[in-house]
Amino acid sequence: MNNPHHLNPTSLKSRFTTRFLRALTKIRAQKPISSSSPTEIFRRYRRIKVAADKSMAYSVRSRRIWSRAMLWKLRSRSYRRQDPCSGRRSGKTNQAIMKKSSNGNITRRREDGVGFVEEADELRQLVPGGETMNLCNLLDETAHYIKCLTTQVQVMKKIADFYSF
C-alpha cells in the first residue's frame, strides 16, 4: 500500500492529472451531460482525447522530441480550426518544412547499418515526431513515450473507475 504522504507534486503524474482534470471540467462545463446523443458523445470523446494528449504534452513541455512534435501538431490543428485561411498557410509552411526535413532523412532510406528498417519505420509512425529521428533517438523517445502513456492510462483509468462504477 502506498503511503499517501509521500507525494511528489511535481511528478509527471501529478502534473498530468491536474491539467487533465482541468480540461475535463471545462469540457463538461460546456455541455450538460444529460444529452447523450451519439454525435455529442463522439464529439466529447474527441475533445477528451485531445485534452488528454495535450495535457500530457504540456506536462512534458519541450523536453522531448515527441512532446514538441505533438504540441506542434495540436497547435497547428487548433489554428486551422480557428482560422482556416491562416491555419492553412501556417500549416502548409510548417508541414512543408517538416516534410522536407523528414524527406531528406527518409530518402536516405535510414540504413543505419543495424537492419531494423521496417520495424523502425513502423515505430516512427507510432511515436509522434518519429520521422525525424535516427534509431538511437527513436528508442530513447519511445521509452519516454511509453512511460508517459502508461501514466496517462493509469490516471484516466482511475478517473473513469471513480465516476462510472
Binding site: P4, P9, L126
Partner: protein
C-alpha cells in the same frame, strides 16, 4: 640534505606516515638553517607530543609556507578557506586553533617562512579564538602574497605534488576540495601501485590549476574515447559503428524492462515488434478510456479545489463501494445541517481520506464539493496541501475507521442505493455545473 628527502619521497615503499616523518625531519633541518630554532623547538615539542594526526596537520602548515609553488599556495588557500571542515574529529581543537593561527599570522610577522612558523606555533600555543572568518580571509590574501614571495626552493614540480599529495592525505578535507580529491585518490593509489603508475599520475596532474582542469576533464570529457577491442577492426568508421550499436543495444535493454513480457524474446526484431504492439495497445487504451470518460455521467464534479483536498487511492481501492455514499454527502442541505462530527466520519467513509475534516470544511464552503479527485493518486496534491495533510491521521487509522463507519452508516439506514439514481445525479450535476 636537500636532495636526500626528495629521493626518499619518491620511494613509495615508505608508508605515508613515514614519509611525513621524513619530511618533517627535513623541514626541521631547513628551518634550523634559517635560525629559528627557538620557535621550532617549541613547535616540535608541541607537535611530537600530539598524535600522529597532528603531526600530519602540522605538516600541512609547513607545506603552506615552505613551497613557493602556486600549487601549494592554492592548497594553503584551500585549507584556509575551510579549516573547520578540513580538521575533522581527530583533531577538533586544532580547527579552532587553526583559525586563530591564521588570524595571528599576519599580525606579528611579515615573512613567508616566519608566517608559517607562526601558523604552526599558534597551533600549539593556546590562542584565544578571537579571530573571525574575516581574519581568515585577510590571512588568505596575505598568505598568497607570502607564498609567492617566499624564496623558491629547489623543489621540482613532482616533489611539490607529492608533498601536496601527502598533505592531502594528511588532511581530511580531501573530500571537500576537488583538486584535493583528485590528489587524495591518487595518493591512496600510490600505496598499492608501483612507482611508475604513481609517477604517471603525478605527472598527469601537474599544477593545481592543471589539476583542476584535469579533474574537470575527467568529469566532462570532450570526446568519448573508445578502445578497439582485441580482434576487431580499428578504423574510425567501425569504431563509431560499434559505439552506436552499443548505445542501441543499451536502449533496447531499457525498453525491455519497460515493456512487460519482453524478457522471453531475444531477437532485436522481435523486441521491436513487441514494443510496437505495446505502444499501439497503450494508445488504444487511451482512446478507449477517453471514450469512457465521454460517456460517463459525472455524479460528482471535477472540482479542482476538492481535488487538492484529497488523497486516496491505492490504499482505498477497497473503499470504492463506499463512494456510493458520496452523492448523499454532497447534498448541500445535508452538509449544512449535520454537525461536523457526524459528517466527518461520513466524509471519511466516503473517501477514505486522511483529512476528512479538511474535506468536509471544503465541501461545506463549496457546495459543489465532492472530492472528485479523492480517487486520484496522492500525486495530485500540491505541496501546500501535502504539508497540511501530513498533520492529519495516518491512513491506517482511517482505513479502519472507514470500514466501521461504512457499516454504521449502512446500519443506520442512511444509505441510499450506492449507485445514485439518475435524477439525483442530474440535480447534482446541474447545480454543480452552474457553480463552475
Amino acid at each position: 640534505m636537500n636532495t636526500a628527502l626528495p629521493e626518499m619521497l619518491q620511494c613509495s615503499d615508505l608508508t605515508v606516515l613515514e614519509r611525513q616523518r621524513a619530511r618533517l625531519k627535513w623541514q626541521e633541518e631547513q628551518f634550523q638553517q634559517q635560525q629559528q630554532q627557538s620557535y621550532f623547538s617549541e613547535l616540535s615539542c608541541g607537535v611530537f607530543s600530539s598524535q600522529t594526526n597532528h603531526v600530519q596537520g602540522f605538516q600541512g602548515g609547513f607545506m603552506g609556507g615552505a613551497s613557493g609553488d602556486s600549487v601549494l599556495s592554492d592548497m594553503v588557500m584551500a585549507r584556509q578557506v575551510k579549516p573547520d571542515p578540513g580538521l575533522e574529529s581527530p583533531w577538533p581543537e586544532l580547527g579552532k586553533v587553526d583559525m586563530a593561527a591564521m588570524g595571528f599570522g599576519p599580525c606579528g610577522y611579515g615573512n613567508g617562512p616566519s608566517f608559517d612558523m607562526n601558523h604552526a606555533i599558534s597551533r600549539t600555543s593556546s590562542c584565544p579564538p578571537a579571530v573571525a572568518a574575516t581574519k581568515a580571509v585577510e590571512v588568505k590574501g596575505t598568505s598568497e602574497k607570502m607564498a609567492s614571495a617566499v624564496g623558491k626552493e629547489s623543489f621540482k614540480k613532482r616533489k611539490a605534488e607529492k608533498l601536496q599529495n601527502s598533505k592531502v592525505v594528511a588532511e581530511d578535507d580531501s573530500k571537500r576540495i576537488k583538486a584535493c580529491e583528485d590528489e587524495g585518490e591518487e595518493s591512496k593509489i600510490t600505496g598499492p601501485n608501483t612507482n611508475k603508475s604513481s609517477n604517471n599520475k603525478k605527472e598527469a596532474s601537474g599544477d593545481a590549476s592543471k589539476e583542476n582542469s584535469k579533474v574537470s576533464e575527467v568529469q566532462k570529457p570532450d570526446f568519448i574515447h573508445v578502445r578497439a577491442r582485441r580482434g576487431q577492426a580499428t578504423d574510425s568508421h567501425s569504431l563509431a559503428e560499434r559505439v552506436r550499436r552499443e548505445k542501441i543495444s543499451e536502449r533496447m535493454k531499457y525498453l525491455q524492462d519497460l515493456v512487460p513480457g519482453c524478457n522471453k524474446i531475444t531477437g532485436k526484431a522481435g523486441m521491436l515488434d513487441e514494443i510496437i504492439n505495446y505502444v499501439q495497445s497503450l494508445q488504444r487504451q487511451v482512446e478507449f478510456l477517453s471514450m469512457k470518460l465521454a460517456t460517463v455521467n459525472p455524479r460528482l464534479d471535477f472540482n479542482i479545489d476538492n481535488l487538492y483536498a484529497k488523497e486516496v487511492f491505492s490504499s482505498c481501492t477497497t473503499n470504492f463501494p463506499t463512494l456510493g455514499m458520496a452523492p448523499e454527502m454532497v447534498n448541500p442541505p445535508y452538509l449544512q445541517f449535520n454537525p461536523i462530527q457526524q459528517v466527518v466520519p461520513c466524509g471519511g467513509v466516503e473517501m477514505g481520506i486522511n483529512s476528512p475534516d479538511m474535506t468536509l470544511r471544503r465541501t461545506i464552503s463549496a457546495p459543489v464539493s465532492i472530492p472528485d479527485a479523492s480517487f486520484l493518486d496522492s500525486s495530485c496534491l500540491t505541496m501546500h496541501q501535502c504539508s497540511a495533510m501530513q498533520q492529519i491521521q495516518p491512513t491506517a487509522t482511517w482505513d479502519v475507521e472507514l470500514q466501521n463507519l461504512y457499516n454504521v452508516a449502512f446500519d443506520q439506514g442512511r444509505s441510499t442505493p450506492p449507485f445514485p439514481s439518475q435524477p439525483f445525479a442530474g440535480a447534482i450535476g446541474a447545480s454543480d455545473l452552474k457553480e463552475i
